[in-house]
Assembly symmetry: D2
Homo-oligomer: 184 residues x 4
């Protein structure tokens, strides 16, 4: 990721859940957009990322902050299917819109995950009102810090700050995160 | 469940994971047997039941206590498949033997779950050295109490105490448990 | 508390700990000021308020945000003495400046606590760069929300928003907070 | 501690709280006795030891298991006074009997703590029905294990097993425990 924030690339999505109409970053300009990239069988996503994202949804108003879950399956595609995801969302009572990251058709990292150069799941992306990607976290990030970063973006007019360096890569899953072996 | 403990019925299992050879309660006589009935997409199982069962495995010796996970799928059979379970066990680093409760072939409550009249998942079953079902918990049960009950069974010779009454039924999933709508 | 924020009254302090020189809100103008009012024997302060305040200190820069602990003893004055507080700060490794709220000399609610009409402990006060009291929480408040509120104040120039209504009063201590019986 | 369990020495106590009459180990023969040695300003005692001891009290019957808190002040004697302890017990809603370990009169490790060669606080002592000290933990110990050990002692007739080796010493307080600098 460059020192100067770049426009967040549009999501490449094969299907949407929990929303009547597909969303687009373009159409969400004017709001701060929070994207939580997860996999339904990633332990760190289930124990930390999903609860944090639910809390973000409860804390901020829908007219100010859009919250999107991005199901970015980069391993075990055969079992983390759209139908399995539906059951997961039902059992975990997840009500915010969920984008299914478009698979390549030959396994591996899906389209949006590649565009954003995500290191694995959970990843948290914060996009400002003008569509710029401003914060990019991989793994556990503290609620206090996330709340502050969202509020910072909410408070801004047009100012654009440098994005932080991405976290060091981790391969495989631990309690906190699932990392991909090599950055695409 | 009767006031007088009954012999624990044998497990009816369609496949075993994490073990080279199938287990049977008959062959485990002499040990205390802990069975954790779960579903891989049950939130209370993932947040509480699985970690507790791992801790049981770490706390007691294998020559004294056998620990078995029982995957009793009673809903959403199409996505909680044996292959999906394999991925779940891998991601959550579950190493103790797992029995896949035999499905009926037409959905609903699987065979072992029916035999034991489980109310849902997570359920914890404690079987004494003589094969009698002695404790039966549905939903959250405290570590201190579980530790005490296992140790009580370990300490016994042939004495058999009355089993406690089962917990009240709950239908659907909440944070603690997934209940079946009607007791079979 | 009025709908329009008021200038935060100056702290009335009998002693300072963890700082070479006394602090004053007047001298801190230009920074956001976080005041955590606590009692060393208040369970909700120890389990939640103090750890949250430590995390605030770690998350924001000292040049942007001042963090002050305010020891507002309104009961059991004979045992929550300055000397006992020193030991508490040492054992709990609290390094940010601590103000000892000035006692009245005849028990009850100390001076600063009365000025701010605190309902009990823990209370969290957020003061903007211009010295206005902007947020006032009693009891448990979520990290995500606190992070957002501090960042909102950091981002502001001169804008002043309405403060939220105070929480309902609680008398006595529970796991979350110690409330005073009647609002002064 | 020797390989063969020794009779637990009698408590040397300057005062009792939460009990109408003083207790003695001699008079408690026939019950399993749980002693939680703590200091009211020890972080690990407050966050872990005290809640665990409360849970022990709730889990086992009073006719089977006696639970005693032992306030063993080995530092900061001037602020952890009997009167301060009374306030602490009130605020933390601790209802089981509390023994105040008899101070030496010239600071340092109090009498019972010395007799038992405690390494610091929290320490958990488990005494069997015959008055033998059977388990001795310093610092954090898991609920599952403690539950099992208490139940093991409850189940016993006269058998006496070897006590485990004490944990390694730690000096000063960390999140888990307060250790004394040198073993007496």
């Amino acid at each position: 990721m460059a020192n100067h924030p770049t426009l967040a690339p549009e999501l490449d999505v094969s299907a949407w859940l929990n929303t009547a109409t597909p969303l687009s970053l373009q159409a969400l300009r004017g709001k701060v957009v929070v994207i939580h990239a997860f996999q339904m069988l990633c332990p760190g996503c289930v124990s930390h990322g999903i609860p944090q994202t639910k809390k973000i949804r409860e804390t901020f108003r829908e007219e100010d902050v859009a919250v999107i879950g991005l199901h970015s399956v980069f391993e075990h595609h055969d079992v983390m299917t759209p139908r399995a995801l539906e059951v997961f969302l039902h059992e975990y009572r997840i009500a915010f819109p969920i984008a299914i990251d478009r698979p390549t058709g030959h396994g591996g990292v899906p389209r949006t995950m590649a565009r954003y150069q995500l290191r694995g799941t959970p990843s948290l992306l914060l996009i400002d009102r003008h569509g710029y990607l401003r914060f990019h976290h991989f793994g556990h990030v503290d609620d206090l810090r996330v709340g502050a970063q969202i509020a910072q973006l909410l408070a801004e007019g047009a100012a654009i700050a440098a994005a932080p360096a991405p976290a060091a890569a981790r391969a495989g899953c631990d309690d906190q995160a699932c990392g991909i072996a090599a950055t695409p």
